[in-house]
């Protein structure tokens, strides 16, 4: 989701600075032992989703290609190319595949806080 909160809540973790991010190129981060993928888009918005790709079981979402379907900003998995919404994590294109056993096809979305150019991720707060 788009980052707008002025101050980080108590459950948020400091991850990096905005200067560490390159537009349209994702990065992975470890937050409390969990892997997340963070994207700075060309419009300045920052998004965070789970790094685990439900269709391959590999932690690679951060290395996918960003884009759009209609007005929705998206990320495509680098393994089997499923496309997910960066706004709510919905899987928009399944490529006729099923997720790995026991996994939901959609990605978990995490709240992003920006504070003076510092990026915080809040695992507690969903989309």
């Amino acid at each position: 989701m788009t980052a707008v909160s002025a101050t980080a809540s108590s459950t948020a973790t400091r991850v990096c600075t905005l200067a560490d991010l390159t537009p349209e190129l994702g990065v992975a981060a470890l937050v409390g032992g969990e892997q997340v993928a963070i994207f700075l888009l060309a419009d300045g918005s920052v998004h965070c989703v789970q790094n685990l790709d439900p269709f391959s079981g590999a932690s690679v979402i951060s290395r996918g290609i960003t884009g759009s379907r209609g007005d929705v900003p998206t990320i495509a998995s680098p393994i089997y190319k499923q496309v997910f919404s960066l706004l709510d994590g919905t899987c928009l294109v399944t490529m006729d595949k099923e997720p790995k056993e026991g996994r939901a096809p959609d990605l978990a979305v995490h709240r992003v806080h920006l504070d003076n150019g510092v990026v915080f991720i809040d695992l507690a707060g969903g989309a």
Partner: protein, 856 residues
């Protein structure tokens, strides 16, 4: 309901069609079919027999889906010649004495090759031209004689008809000289008139084949070694030969019919009515053995029609033989020849309209009714492109000036042809224009592949495909279905159009490209496509500027992502030649990082299991030792595979390794619509399997042959000959242009084989463009390739020198060196591989990545 048993005698193309049609249409399983084939193989495409000489194997001639023979209601017996039919007991006897009972018998025994009684016709070195075995024996003989004689083999083909010219082409492609000896006054006298015969002769002589018409062969004489040695002609002339092929026609194999008391025609053949039934209601005859409407027909199209009619009748249908369409279109020795309808203008009052251009070897004739409006037939030699449109119009009025169809393109406006629904379009498979329209409108077939699959049109000889495509296009347009070649929702252009747009506008960034030619933010389809186009055009670093975010999975980190998110690393090994110290280094790196090693199909070594953050360290060691990126991750040149060639091999005639290295260094880093693989073989034995590559270079004793458009993968295709016996310099020039032209015009992810097939005019047109420079593009393509070669840099070396780009190889933005904690491996055959989900539950066997000993 009991199943009735049909026995088909004969295992040729028509027997195949009968069986296939029966299984497709007999949905209730009323009939079982047992096929008795004399040859030791399943039915094959006899029409394509000559292609066996272009390096193909008998398997390539396979007809239809081989699963047909696994059908529980179908039995195929090979090596099973039927010797007798007892119609009273309804029993067929097979050689060896086995008896097979039938409820219904289908004779599909075809023809045998007939040779006029000639003294010496039994000498070693005299061949027929009918079966795969004939053709294989001929090939073996020519190759053996060439080795023994140490000079080109001298061949002669007796017979200048369709089959004779096929055989002459076969001899040519085996490297033998060939002379066609024709009894009639012109070549293909059954299909073309005098003018057409003259044009054909000139064209074929240009290919290096000698033609002797009006010549009778009196005797074949042995040479000193007892093999065939010379031909003696009735006019007293003599010619030295090392191999002779008889192609003097075929005769129906009607002996089973005759010996079982069925009526045979005056010129042979088992007499049948218009439903292909003999006088015995339990016996049908189809194909070349059937004498239908008073004649035996030696073409595949009427044979297939008979097979369909027999099936229809057995299933209770009422279709009858409509009369044979003896229209023919073929490519013999690279020359187009077509003949259709009343080619000899025998209709009373018929007019002949002729266009002849002896310089370019073109002869075209239309036969029209006396008012010059209705098409009756025609002959096309040298350029038969109008055949697909004209043949179905026989009997119909041609719109506009008929001369437009035979004059050079553009000199007179052609009328728009709208075929009636019942006009036949594909005569091989008897598909009408209406069926093709139906496939588009009722069965939602919106591309050529779907229409072909649905109707079978164009699946045999393919000559009607341009027409099928046209009818489909018109129908789609009428239905308001837009045939979109848009890349994705962000670009309405196709890849080729976008390539051109970017080149002309000279834009260099994705943001400019999408702003000028697209909409939105892009996606995983258009971003890598634009990334690839920019790389092909400007050869700037794939991770430079804003381009890293455009690259697909592998290009993005210049390594191949594996299923667990780790990567494999492949340094370049040009031509497969590698220094011992580089082998040791690769082994050392694999040991240090615990990487799984495997030899690739492209003669290099792949190291699997490297983590993102390890890639720069690994590449630093490779680059320091003088190795460079192998681009195994790119839609770009991969490898140039080679055999060891003349430097070591006892048989090699050229230095294939040297050529492969030169090619690999020339094209390394070249980004293209799909991956490119090349191969170089040092002699005709072709150990490098170069014809399975996009570009295959094969040594000859005079230079190199260049083949193009080969593919392995999902749809394997052998590469086709582009140029012959050329020098090293010409190899480079021709490949430069071929690759550049492909890069500019192919679709996204379209490999060379389908590109070549779908290119207008096929390989012939591509040859005109890249070899003969017919579009005047040569210089531009050459300059583009020269720019690529001059601007090449090792992209891994460049990244190692750039701290900004190196940051993209951190595992985690807040823990750049920490390995992905979810990776887990087990040991197998002394190396590691990713653990399966089940193995992950069983923790003790796992090797975690953090425990690996890593030398920094």
């Amino acid at each position: 309901m009991t199943t009735e048993h049909i026995v088909v005698v004969g295992g040729g193309m028509v027997a195949h069609r009968f069986t296939e049609a029966m299984r497709a249409r007999d949905t209730e399983g009323r009939f079982s079919v047992e096929v008795l084939a004399e040859e030791p193989r399943a039915p094959y495409d006899r029409v394509a027999l000559t292609s066996y000489f272009q390096g193909r194997t008998p398997e390539d001639l396979q007809l239809g889906d081989p699963a047909l023979w696994q059908d529980p209601l179908v039995t195929l017996h090979r090596d099973s010649r039927a010797t007798a039919v007892d119609r009273d007991r309804r029993i067929v006897t097979v050689e060896g004495g086995r008896e097979v009972a039938y409820d219904h018998l289908v004779l599909a025994t075809g023809s045998y090759a007939w040779a006029p009684p000639t003294p010496g016709a039994d000498l070693p070195g005299v061949f027929m031209y009918r079966t795969v075995d004939d053709v294989a024996a001929l090939r073996g003989w020519v190759e053996e004689r060439r080795a023994e004689l140490g000079r080109p083999v001298r061949g002669a083909v007796i017979g200048g008809g369709l089959l004779g010219l096929e055989a002459a082409g076969a001899l040519q492609s085996l490297g033998a000289r060939s002379t066609v000896i024709q009894f009639a006054d012109r070549l293909m006298n059954l299909q073309v008139d005098e003018g057409g015969g003259e044009a054909l002769k000139r064209l074929i002589e240009r290919m290096g084949v000698t033609v002797r018409c009006s010549t009778a062969t009196q005797e074949i004489r042995a040479g000193k070694d007892g093999h065939v040695g010379s031909l003696l002609f009735a006019d007293g002339g003599e010619q030295l030969v090392d191999v002779v092929v008889f192609a003097t026609g075929v005769r129906p194999r009607d002996e089973l019919g005759a010996t079982s008391g069925l009526e045979t025609g005056a010129r042979g053949g088992v007499v049948v009515d218009d439903t292909c039934l003999t006088a015995d209601p339990a016996v049908s005859a189809i194909g070349e053995v059937a004498c239908i409407q008073g004649a035996c027909l030696g073409l595949i199209a009427p044979g297939n029609t008979m097979a369909e009619i027999a099936v229809d009748r057995l299933l209770g249908g009422a279709s009858t033989f409509p009369g044979a369409d003896m229209a023919t279109k073929l490519k013999l020795l690279g020359v187009d020849v077509a003949s259709f309808g009343d080619a000899f203008a025998t209709t009373p009052g018929a007019l002949e309209m002729v266009y002849a251009d002896p310089v370019n070897g073109v002869y075209k004739k239309l036969v029209l009714t006396d008012d010059a409006k209705t098409l009756l037939g025609g002959v096309l030699v040298g350029d038969a492109s109008a055949y697909a449109s004209l043949r179905p119009m026989v009997g119909a009025e041609l719109p506009g000036d008929p001369a437009a169809w035979i004059l050079p393109e553009g000199s007179v406006e052609k009328g728009e042809i709208e075929l009636p629904d019942d006009a036949g379009v594909c005569s091989c498979n008897n598909v009408s224009a209406g069926s093709i329209r139906g496939a588009v409108t009722d069965h939602d077939c919106h591309d050529l592949g779907a229409v072909k699959a649905c109707t079978k049109a164009g699946t045999s000889c393919g000559s009607c495909l341009p027409l099928v495509k046209k009818i489909m296009g018109t129908e789609l347009e009428k239905a308001g279905i837009e045939v979109s070649n848009a890349l994705c929702e962000h670009f309405a252009l196709s890849r080729a159009q976008l390539f051109n747009a970017i080149k002309v506008a000279e834009v260099t960034t994705f943001s400019e490209v999408i702003e000028r030619f697209g909409t939105g933010r892009g996606c995983d389809i258009c971003k890598p496509t634009v990334g690839s186009i920019l790389a092909s055009l400007y050869n700037a670093h794939v991770l430079g500027g804003d381009r890293a975010a455009l690259q697909d999975t592998n290009d993005r980190v210049m390594a191949n992502m594996q299923k667990d998110g780790t990567y494999s690393v492949v340094p370049r090994v040009p031509g497969g030649e590698i220094l011992p110290e580089h082998l040791i280094l690769i082994g050392q790196i694999a040991q240090d990082y615990g990487l799984y090693t495997k030899i690739t199909g492209g003669q290099r070594i792949d190291m699997f299991g490297a983590r993102l953050e390890q890639l720069p360290q690994i590449w630093k060691r490779l680059v320091d030792a003088g190795m460079e990126s192998g681009h195994a991750y790119g839609k770009s040149l991969r490898t140039v595979k080679s055999c060891v060639g003349s430097t070591w091999c006892r048989y090699g005639v050229q230095d294939s390794v040297g050529m492969a290295i030169a090619l690999e260094l020339r094209y390394r880093g070249l980004r293209s619509p799909h991956k490119l693989k090349l191969g170089v073989s040092g002699c005709a034995r072709e150990c490098a399997e170069a014809r399975g590559k996009d570009v295959g270079v094969i040594a000859t004793d005079k230079g190199w042959n260049v083949y193009v458009g080969g593919n392995g993968g999902f749809t394997p295709v052998h590469a086709q000959l582009l140029v012959e016996d050329v020098s090293d310099d010409d190899v480079f020039r021709v490949i430069d242009r071929y690759l550049m032209y492909y890069i500019r015009t192919a679709d996204r992810l379209q490999r060379t084989a389908p590109w070549q097939q779908e290119h207008e005019g096929g390989l012939d047109r591509i040859r005109e463009i890249v070899v003969d420079d017919s579009l005047g593009l040569g210089e531009e393509l050459d300059a583009h390739m020269a720019r690529h070669i001059d601007s090449y840099e090792d992209e891994w070396k460049a990244v190692l020198n750039d701290p900004v780009r190196l940051r993209q190889f951190a595992s985690f933005v807040n823990a750049p060196e920490q390995p992905d904690p979810t990776l887990a491996y087990v040991e197998q055959r002394g190396q590691r591989r990713p653990a399966t989900p089940a193995e992950r539950e069983n923790a003790p066997v796992l090797i975690a990545p953090t425990t690996l000993e890593v030398r920094s």
